[in-house]
């Protein structure tokens, strides 16, 4: 079967779209290998005289290792905590019967309609009372109130055959045992993929770091990037593009390795019910 001639125009359209979306990535990568003067003179995607000097400057102008580890610690804490709490909550919403279950579930899910401007001042005040302003914990904590994990895990758990759970109940297996020996093993791929999504989201987070962090030792990658922006774009384009490239590396790397899982889990997030 060959591609039908009327389909060619649609393929062209999609190819143009893909190129438009991929172009900024290539722009960033290529500019990061240019010299400062070339970056200003030419917008060619192939550097005339490729150099690593922008990457050298990343390590001399900012404390890149510290910033990288801050970002990593925050993302890891947020991911682990959200995964554990969401697995337990989703289990309760699927396998327990209690009064007000549906109402509570919808209350939690509807929080995606609360804009962050509603929570930012009280959260700032709360966290300043416990000394978490200008601390990576102050960045991590507000990110934990996120219902997407509960929503997604509930979808996957609803797909577990009821008969399996009934057998376990007859054998008087406790809920913790059922969770550990039946539910978690069956939806392990989903848990991993949701964890990857949590990690990427936190890695990319800008709003809470921007509100909470003051000093450079506590910066995350998002805030470090902001240092290379001035009203007209600063002067050192290659170094800005080098930091941008380094920031994208982890999310895109994870995507390249497990894009099938990630796509599948994201596709679930649009399904209601």
């Amino acid at each position: 079967m060959k591609i039908n001639s009327s389909e060619i125009k649609w393929h062209l359209l999609f190819i143009i779209l893909v190129l438009l979306l991929i172009y900024p990535l290539l722009f960033s990568l290529s500019t990061s290998f240019k010299t400062m003067s070339e970056a200003f003179q030419s917008s060619s995607l192939i550097p005339a005289d490729p150099t690593f000097s922008a990457y050298d400057r990343v390590f001399t102008t900012i404390n890149f290792v510290q910033i990288l580890s801050n970002t990593f610690i925050i993302a890891a804490l947020v991911t682990i905590f959200k995964l554990v709490t969401s697995v337990f909550a989703a289990y309760a919403f699927v396998f327990f019967h209690f009064k007000g279950k549906t109402a509570l579930y919808f209350l939690l899910i509807s929080t995606i309609f609360i804009p962050f401007t509603v929570t930012m001042i009280p959260n700032y005040i709360t966290l300043s009372k416990v000394g978490f302003v200008d601390s990576i914990y102050g960045v991590a904590l507000p990110q934990l109130a996120d219902a997407t994990g509960i929503f997604l895990l509930r979808q996957y758990m609803k797909g577990i055959p009821m008969s399996l759970m009934e057998v376990a109940e007859l054998e008087r297996a406790s809920h913790l045992t059922r969770l550990r020996t039946i539910v978690v093993p069956l939806i392990r791929p989903a848990i991993l993929s949701i964890g990857i999504i949590f990690f990427i989201n936190s890695w990319n987070e800008y709003v809470w770091p921007a509100i909470m962090i003051k000093s450079e030792v506590n910066y995350t990658l998002s805030l470090a990037l902001q240092m290379f922006v001035s009203s007209e774009g600063g002067t050192d384009v290659p170094v800005a593009m080098a930091v941008a490239t380094l920031t994208m590396l982890l999310p895109l790397g994870l995507y390249a390795v497990c894009q099938k899982f990630i796509i599948g889990t994201f596709a679930q997030s649009g399904i209601k019910g």
Binding site: M1, I3, N4, S6, E7, W10, H11, L13, V18, L21, P24, L25, F27, S28, F40, S43, T85, F88, A89, Y91, A92, F96, F98, L104, L108, S110, T111, I112, F113, P115, F116, T117, V118, T119, I121, P122, N123, Y124, T126, L144, I150, I200, W203, N204, Y206, A210, I211, L221, L225, Q226, V229, S231, E232, M241, T247, Y255, I262, F266, A267, G270
Partner: protein
């Protein structure tokens, strides 16, 4: 056989355990979502600067000030323009393309969702910096293309209107692939035979889309439409904050950025809280609409 006492003891134990399972999540939501919501509502009735020990009760003054301030008109107009651009690029375009990809293409079509989705994983702040350079009128490629066709690209960050378009494109870059993916999976609820029958009758594609596909995919579509607005207005916060700080003269600010600005630039806690509450009320109207439409959609799709 269990006695009635056993039964109720068992139920009580189950309830307690269920509560324990939900508790960690619930605690986090109460601490960082529900308590802040009530506190912000409370703050919206006071004049305060976040540090002074004195808070002055002003009843509805903050709301009245907001509604009579000429800046609010600018912010409302900007917010509407953001919504129009976001709906166009992040909802209508991916919706039509999901239809095209599902029903008008056969071979080699699956690769596109994987490729288009990749930009959804990139941080908004990265997108903001990339677009700042791509649209730089002096050294960027868009400026070079404009030069080649004899048009001078204006300094977008100083040009009202254009500044909103470029900032919106950062949010388009973030959400387009994701929305396309969800709308694509929504197309599953359209029976292939219906489309084939319509094609045999030589119905134009535009009619197939509006008469068959739209009614059968309305629940997914309404969901994406509403998320495009609710999330999009928050997505553009990052490029606004990083690139323009709402300027020039509030020309790129929106309802979200303005709330942030009141709180953390001017320390007018009450004004920020009042605007945040208004924003949430608008979003809640959208939530109500979603419930109505999605329920209707469920009816259609069954």
């Amino acid at each position: 056989m269990k006695s009635a006492d056993d039964q109720s003891a068992y139920r009580r134990r189950e309830r307690r355990l269920a509560f324990l399972f939900v508790l960690p999540s619930l605690a986090v939501f109460i601490l960082f979502m529900f308590y802040p919501l009530l506190y912000t509502l409370y703050l919206s009735f006071f004049k305060w600067n976040m540090v002074s020990p004195k808070m002055k009760f002003v009843a509805l003054d903050n709301y009245v000030n907001l509604l009579t301030d000429p800046v609010t008109v600018t912010i409302a107009e900007n917010t509407l323009l953001y919504i129009v651009i976001l709906v166009l690029f992040n909802f209508l375009l991916p919706y039509v393309l999901a239809f095209v990809n599902t029903f008008l293409m056969k071979k080699g079509k699956y690769i596109y969702k994987t490729l288009l989705f990749s930009s959804s994983l990139i941080a908004l702040v990265v997108g903001a910096i990339l677009f700042q350079w791509i649209f730089n009128p002096v050294s960027g490629p868009v400026g070079a293309i404009a030069d080649a066709v004899g048009v001078a690209l204006p300094a977008w960050s100083k040009t009202p209107g254009l500044v909103i378009l470029v900032i919106s494109l950062v949010a388009v870059y973030k959400a387009f692939g994701y929305n396309f993916l969800i709308l694509l999976s929504g197309m599953n609820s359209v029976p292939e035979e219906l489309i084939e029958a319509a094609k045999l009758e030589k119905a134009p594609n535009s009619n197939i889309f509006t008469k068959i596909v739209v009614p059968l995919t309305s629940s997914t579509a309404v969901y994406i439409l509403i998320m495009t607005i609710v999330q999009g207005l928050q997505y553009v916060f990052t490029p606004i904050k990083v690139l323009t700080q709402g300027g020039p003269n509030d020309a790129s600010s929106n309802i979200i950025y303005q709330g942030y600005d009141y709180a953390f630039t001017f320390y007018e806690t009450g004004m920020s809280a009042a605007l945040a509450i208004i924003t949430m009320l608008i979003f809640l109207v959208l939530l109500y609409l979603e419930f109505r439409f999605v329920e209707k959609g469920v009816y259609y799709e069954n």
